[in-house]
Symmetry: C2
Subunit: 339 residues, 2 copies
């Protein structure tokens, strides 16, 4: 766990010397969205920017409608993870010179559908011409009256949950990038904005699974100096389409949780004495959290099962970069790690 | 003036159906930054996103330090044009796979220098790997107590000003893109944040010259159903380096004001009875606005001189796109238009 995360290395090289704002509540990596206390008020502004670039280049997202949908959703999910009320989103679009009417129409309807579905209005943007298509969204939200959720605050003994079944992002990626060996999986995630707001009153920390469950647990363990025991068996935690995909591809089911493309659920921890409040809030909202396990005092150690062997989460997290994005090599590497 | 602006056509195709937010004070194209009234308060949040993409692809910006500087400055300038206090900026960076340490270090120091110079702290961002370098900034600011400046509100008889000498952006572009026929020009604009805040109390409308003076006047004429007479002679309005560049390149000086790459000054209008207040505010701040002319009731007509022939500003504005970005053809086209 002391091993560095490759993506963080790039961010440090680029942003190492930046000072940030005195109004900023979070330091780097401490929350999914940046949190600024507005001068002279108790209101916190949440801002986040997230681009859809590599997902287009790799072929992970090819349908223009899905590209538009995801450019909104990845940003909405960061607002969800801090428990913010959505204010609006700006979208900067780079269109290739040969962009067809179908491409533009697909992007427009996908963006519009996701903005409506998340209650996150498209308030502005920028257009440029460039060699390859990319979309960069920036979402704004407000946290009023209560503290925002961050990635920090988990304590040993807290219980670990997800807002829903996991693994759909991994299964979708496998179907897109290894179409010969894994089935196609439907994918249209909805960010958990409503659940994020409920969690502000009960959770001790939260983070979205945009990079997959294992990367999320690795990051939360780093931020909190804690470990996790995943005591729930894998099958009931997996989305049923993810379980089907793993079976069809003859892969261990947990691999659906390991990939760098996640399902945009929230993973969160709740102190034991607030679990009744969580259950009550969930019941009121018609929502059942998925229990994953427990926070431990074993700094940086993630175990599958209370007595299971530690999983090298940093290795899992860096593997995709280490193999240069070669998907078959990546899957073989994961299988070896799960030995 | 009823002719469409090509860039607007692309935005309509992409964003035509978007509903916006009920809290949004501006409609599309009405202000340089999006303006949202925060619920339950008199405070207005200003948000803007602007990407540096085409400027890199064309070779207009090649020095990594300048690319970083401009990615902050173009966004700071939009905050300036609405008179906002800067809160912070997010930066999403796409790095090519072969990005050298020098490139990353240059970007970092340019970003950092511009953030410090504008009092606009870098509060977060996103990094991706992609085929070509691009930077997308999103800046946030606040307008408290007074109405924000917008592009709307000019009335016939108002006087027309710029925050400083003009033409440096055009001269810089000419030197970069036609190095054989025009001299190199130093370029490191500072957004007019302080002046924008002063102008909230006196100006009737404002817009930055990121796309050059002529495009700015064309847009302001559209928004206000007015015209402009540029009564000031061109030479004293031009930055001295722009005048030198025009002379060296044997081009009419006004061409320095026509290109689509501007100098990030503000152009603004002031009712006649507030011009004394403008002069007093400028004197207090050690700043002298540059007077350009007057707002007229001639809808969509921009004249160089009170009795000059109307300039086809829409034609000027669309010309760069029409010639497919061919710089020599563009310059020849402008010379013909001024014929």
């Amino acid at each position: 766990m002391t091993a560095p995360v490759r993506e963080h290395g790039l961010i440090e090289r680029l942003a190492g010397a930046f000072r940030g704002s005195p109004s900023q509540l979070n330091r780097r990596h401490e929350s999914d969205a940046e949190l600024l206390r507005l001068p002279g008020s108790g209101v916190v502004l949440a801002l986040t920017t997230d681009a859809v670039v590599e997902e287009i280049a790799s072929g992970l997202y090819a349908d223009p409608w899905l590209i538009g949908w995801m450019a909104v959703t990845v940003n909405a999910s960061d607002l969800a993870a801090v428990g913010a009320e959505p204010l609006g989103i700006l979208m900067s679009v780079v269109l290739p010179p040969d962009a067809s009417d179908d491409l533009v129409a697909g992007l427009r309807t996908g963006l519009s559908a996701a903005a409506d579905a998340h209650g996150l209005p498209l308030i502005g943007g920028d257009t440029n011409r460039g060699a390859t298509l990319s979309l960069t969204g920036t979402a704004a939200g407000l946290v009023d009256g209560e503290c925002p959720l961050t990635r920090c605050g988990a304590r040993p003994g807290d219980r670990l949950f997800a807002t829903g079944w996991l693994g759909l992002g991994g299964a979708y990626a496998l179907g897109r990038l290894l179409p010969g060996s894994a089935p196609a999986v439907a994918f249209r995630p909805l960010a958990r904005l409503r659940e994020g707001r409920l969690l502000r009153r009960v959770a001790s920390c939260a983070m979205d699974t945009s990079d997959g469950l294992i990367a999320t647990l690795d990051e939360l363990a780093r931020r909190n100096g804690c470990g996790f025991s995943i005591t729930a068996p894998v099958e009931p935690v997996l989305h049923r389409d993810a379980l089907r995909a793993a079976t069809a591809a003859h892969l261990p089911p947990w691999l659906m949780l390991a990939g760098p493309h996640g399902e945009f659920e929230l993973v969160f921890t709740v102190p034991a004495d607030r679990c009744d409040a969580l259950a009550a809030a969930g019941a009121d909202a018609g929502w059942a959290p998925v229990e994953l396990g427990v926070v431990t005092g074993e700094r940086g150690i993630v175990r599958l099962g209370a007595e299971g062997a530690p999983l090298d989460t940093t290795r899992v997290r860096n593997l995709f970069d280490e193999v240069g994005g070669d998907v078959p090599a990546y899957v073989r590497g994961l299988e070896r790690l799960s030995g």
